[in-house]
Symmetry: C2
Subunit: 221 residues, 2 copies
């Protein structure tokens, strides 16, 4: 009975996510669903990305938080289109929330839309919102055991950004072991090692993202 | 309709949590529900606590993880009673899971039972398991904005342990501001600032916990 209810919710979500996806297809818009634990650096990575790619790509952001509009305020200061969703308790974003938020965005003036999910290493991985791909961030401060303990998110993600590598000298943590454990769960993962604080490693991320947005655009007529 | 379903689940959970609680009352057992984001240091705090209090208190641990038994293995090495719950996808522990796990523990040889919840700053706060109190850990690496963004967990917790203070020199993070933001959400919070790595600040935590377990014991007849 309980399983049936959950299944209904997921099915309804899939339907709406597919509708969102069709809209993104028509617009030739690259949509990334960005997920991580609280405080792993989603908004910081976004700030750096807007800074670096703002001249090449027109970015838009949907900010998901249970409460507060702190993140949307940080993003708005960078001069890109942004909408804040407050889930009012819910632990993840779903297709319906994204559909509602799209009304407030001009998709014709956008190349890359980033959906910053609620900080949670579990639930967001279960819900598509119509994205092209999911990307996740893991902070090195979280330790090497996270892929084995939270496998779904690592499995659902196309990209893993390992953040805060500037802190490695002060931690008992091996970034090689994080890579190894993550690839055990998902051998297809595209991996980046970065510090949003010092900027280390971000060039490769920017190049990859620019190329992904370019490939998404409809061919010129 | 959707809300009604959620309400039913929470009501059913409350009933089972109350049954668990009555059992703990009969045993004079202090039960702490320990919550945090992934990698904030729940198992490390437990290892330190077992090390420091093992002579004074008989500890037991229920480990909650979506998958893997890594944490239970770490705890078992310390020679205390431990059970691993694998939720198989679920993002939190509930009363029913705890009731099942209790069958594998001898509560008559125990003064303090710690329920280590799934690493998640959202969902575990919604489900009682029969505990005396909830305690949460926030790592300083997660930043000062977490109380405003995840208010329920801060509101539901009696205790906030701020961990990894050894990393403060390498972060743009103010522990005073974390305290301030947390107390804005829940002025009753009992606060600790610790480093499970260096041991700093742990004495106060141990004294507080020992006193709480002492107060919970039934008066001698």
């Amino acid at each position: 009975m309980k399983i049936a209810v959950v299944r209904d919710i997921l099915d309804a979500n899939e339907r709406i996510a597919r509708e969102n996806r069709r809209l993104f297809d028509r617009k030739g818009l690259l949509v990334m669903n960005l997920m991580s634990s609280p405080g792993a650096g989603k908004t910081s990575l976004l700030e750096q990305t807007i800074e670096a790619l703002g001249g090449d790509l027109r970015l838009g952001v949907i900010e998901g938080d249970i409460q507060s509009s702190k993140d949307a305020e940080r993003i708005a200061r960078r001069g890109v289109q942004v909408v804040q969703i407050n889930t009012g308790g819910a632990c993840h974003l779903d297709g319906n929330m994204i559909r509602d938020a799209l009304d407030a965005l001009d998709l014709d003036r956008m190349d890359l839309l980033v959906v910053e999910n609620v900080g949670n290493l579990v639930c967001p991985a279960e819900f598509h919102v119509g994205e092209d791909f999911k990307a996740m961030i893991l902070s090195v401060t979280e330790g090497e055991d996270k892929p084995a303990k939270y496998p779904l998110m690592f499995r659902e993600s196309k990209v893993l950004v390992i953040n805060k590598i500037d802190l490695l000298p002060y931690l008992d943590c091996s970034v090689e072991q994080i890579r190894e454990e993550a690839l055990k769960v998902n051998p297809e993962l595209v991996l980046f090692e970065v510090s949003c604080k010092t900027g280390e490693g971000l060039d490769r991320w920017m190049d990859w993202l620019k190329e992904a947005a370019r490939a998404r655009r409809p061919p010129l007529e």
